[in-house]
């Protein structure tokens, strides 16, 4: 199984990677491209700490073969906002959301995809969307408040 040459757009810039086509995007991001803000948690799409955007939609990068990202736009937490000033990031600080913080890149990326398609989600819509992402520290109440706060700001 040899490497493939895969071209994709990463955080707004064109990127060429050589990797086995079935290598998960998660490990391409972390070990080949040095973007470690996207985390490994379960490897099977049950925890959401690896959440990135592919063409603007939230996706589990641990379940996405890098070949499936070819020609598409991938955004990670590092590319969400140039200065880390996305309304969600500011809201996450305002509500003092993170505890250990390990899941929060994934939480913020999923929330950002939600707000991008629905700027004024109801509490039920927020919960429905965020159900995919685990937080072992239990920051859920603050996550909901932060998404509501950011939604109002946007």
């Amino acid at each position: 199984m040899g490497d493939q040459v895969i071209r994709l757009t990463l955080n707004g810039s064109p990127v060429v990677v050589e990797a086995p086509g079935d290598m998960p995007l998660l490990w391409v991001l972390r070990d080949k491209l040095g973007l470690t803000g996207t985390k490994y948690g379960c490897g099977m799409g049950t925890c959401g700490v690896c959440t990135v955007h592919i063409d603007g939609s939230a996706a589990f990068s641990c379940l996405t073969p890098v070949a499936a990202a070819a020609g598409r736009e991938v955004t990670t937490i590092e590319g969400l906002s140039p200065e880390g000033e996305h309304p969600l990031q500011r809201a996450w600080i305002a509500e003092q959301v993170p505890q250990c913080g390990y899941c929060q890149s994934g939480q913020i990326m999923r929330a950002a995809a939600l707000l991008a398609r629905n700027g004024t989600p109801t509490r039920e819509e927020i919960i429905e969307e965020m159900q995919a992402n685990l937080c072992r520290c239990g920051t859920y109440l603050r996550i909901v408040r932060a998404i509501e706060r950011a939604g109002e700001e946007m």
Partner: protein, 742 residues
Amino acid sequence: MTDSMPISRRTFIASAALAAGGALAIGLRYMPWGRMAEPSGSVEVFNWIVVAPDDTITIRIAQMEMGQGTMTAMAQLLAEELEADWSKVKTELISIATHLRRGRIYGRTTTAGSEGVSRSQMLLRTSGAQIRTMFVRAAAKRLGVNESELVAKNSVVTHTSTGRRLTYGELAADAADVPVPDPDSVELKDPSEWRTIGASVDRVDLPGKVDGSATYGIDVEVPGMKHAAIAMSPVFGGRLVAHDAQAALGRPGVQRVVVLPDAGAVAVVADEWWQARSAIDAMKVIWDEGTWASVDSAAIRAGLMEGFEGPPDRSLRNDGDVEGAIASAARTLEADYFTPYLEHAALEPMNCTALVTRRRFEVWAPTQVPEFAMETAAEAAGMAAGRGILHVTQIGGGFGRRQETDFVAQAVQIARAMRGTPVKLLWSREDTMQHGFYRPASLSRIRAALDGEGNITAWWHRIAAPSTDEVRNRFGSDSLLYAIPNMRVELVSRSSHVPEGQMRGVGFSIHGFVTQSALDELARAAGRDPYELQRTLLDPEKTPAIVPTATLEGQITHDLRPRERAARLRAVLDEVAGKSGWGSPLGPGRGRGLAVQEQADAFYAVVVEVTLDGKGWFRVDRVVVAGDPSFLVNPRNAEAQVEGSVAFGLTSAMYGEITIDRGRVAQSNFHDYPMLRIREMPKVETHWVLSRQPGWGGVGEPVVSAVIPALTNAIYDAGGPRIRSLPIRNHEISVEGGRARG
């Protein structure tokens, strides 16, 4: 009293001399592999702070950050007495190597037991006051005035009569030369004067946690680093018999196959982790699974049941005449309660990065126990600890799992085989789930007696635990403050091949469920309201004169008398009853449950409200918490800890269960070890009843243990089943919106 007392000046000078510099290490700090000057004129003052010319103060933190907010709280404690301008405070973790070289000057570094604040506060406040005094004395000398004419505030020393002022940045070099005052000579502020302690300042560690820049152990990058994946014996204690190294070595990027010294594991080292992981999967490995391969959960539980027969191994408490009271009782009740093994399930899988050269070793680890990790690494490297450097990273969840250093030993062993090449070892989720140090299972039998008026006259608790550690098998069982004249608590403890460890809540998470469930059952049997019964039993005037505490032999604790403890517990009970509207009518299918918890000088009471839909589903609507940890350093963060404790406890109550099948853990990942998700998270209301007395308590754990029985009591109150074994999903009731029952 605390474990970490302020060091006297004499101690300081002695340890500083040991530390290699002799006098104060002004302007110098220890860096990996050597000693380097602080950049641009920064000055270290008395170990704890580094002051830059622009008045930025970096406070060194000796407790490990795993999300509990300890870096912020520790800094607040020191900054308060230092009179530091909080807007210019930064933090950094101490250097463990410096700590050890300077004679453990930073006090306790082990981060566990919700004791960060309680055990560090006196050392930090006193150190802050000592350093403030050094700044004031330096200013007095510079200005040629008496110390008494000077006031320190907001990182500035001001001469009150003339208004002349010197900033800490301007004074730092001189202050570092001032002899460190004796800790007994400095006066601490009255709590009413605190401005930084008790303020809900923003957590110092959060900016890097919202933009992906925080470096966890898994994110460590060292030049030339290789990646390791590992296969461990599926049955605990098994040994490697054979492995097909060639199958791995022929794969892309693979550098080396390393059998670990105890033959309990084999690792593959490759250029990238995915390559290493894939190679491990491709490698045929044969294990000698040993004698434990036939053990399963049913056998372990049957062994515990035998513990109910025959004499106990240990009597933990024996007040009055339990057998006589039971013999003469109007009614007796007996019930067995079971709690399963649990895994910590920190979202960051176990990992550690290590470099071993001919003469030195360097380790990067997410660890709660840096000094133990250093010892472990030194042993694995075959060198003295003085030859090593340990960098503690951000920790993606600790919960007690990272009090163990198994993964540190492995990483250093692999790096030793790869001498000169840094190696990052990363476990998969499956490795992490199946090679843990589990909160032990436990079985309890409660026998209790009621008299004709519904008073509890006897309480007999027999514990049968596959655990030999009393923090896990005893804590929470024998420290009950209830006015029950005849009380016996006894223990049968059996070792098991399943590795056990501390988990958030420790033994309280077991015995909180047992005792608070039994009390609720007794209230129902006696036709009494659970709150009224608890309140009657927590009468300080009737509390036994001697009640054990949940402390280890030889451990220094605050000497709270049982009647004070009972009074504080009753105060939070009353608060939670009031705030929750206890006794007010609830609609059909709804119920309330109550539980109290004393843990390490902290007192909590919890009320849970649930709704049952009559079709086998329930929803947790509301959790009301009242707490008295005596003081709060950062209220907003303390509330976050309570919210997190609710989530952690609800996960254990509703879902948590590790089972053993053919000697190994049956669960492997989050599909079969589900945890609380956002939909199941209830509203949490936290109310503080701060007694502001010596004897600081914790905020990170007690609610974990109280919320579990409060929930099961609420389910019963709402018309659901009496839950005597956890998790709830094994019963004919499931969580609304949750995952399917297992």
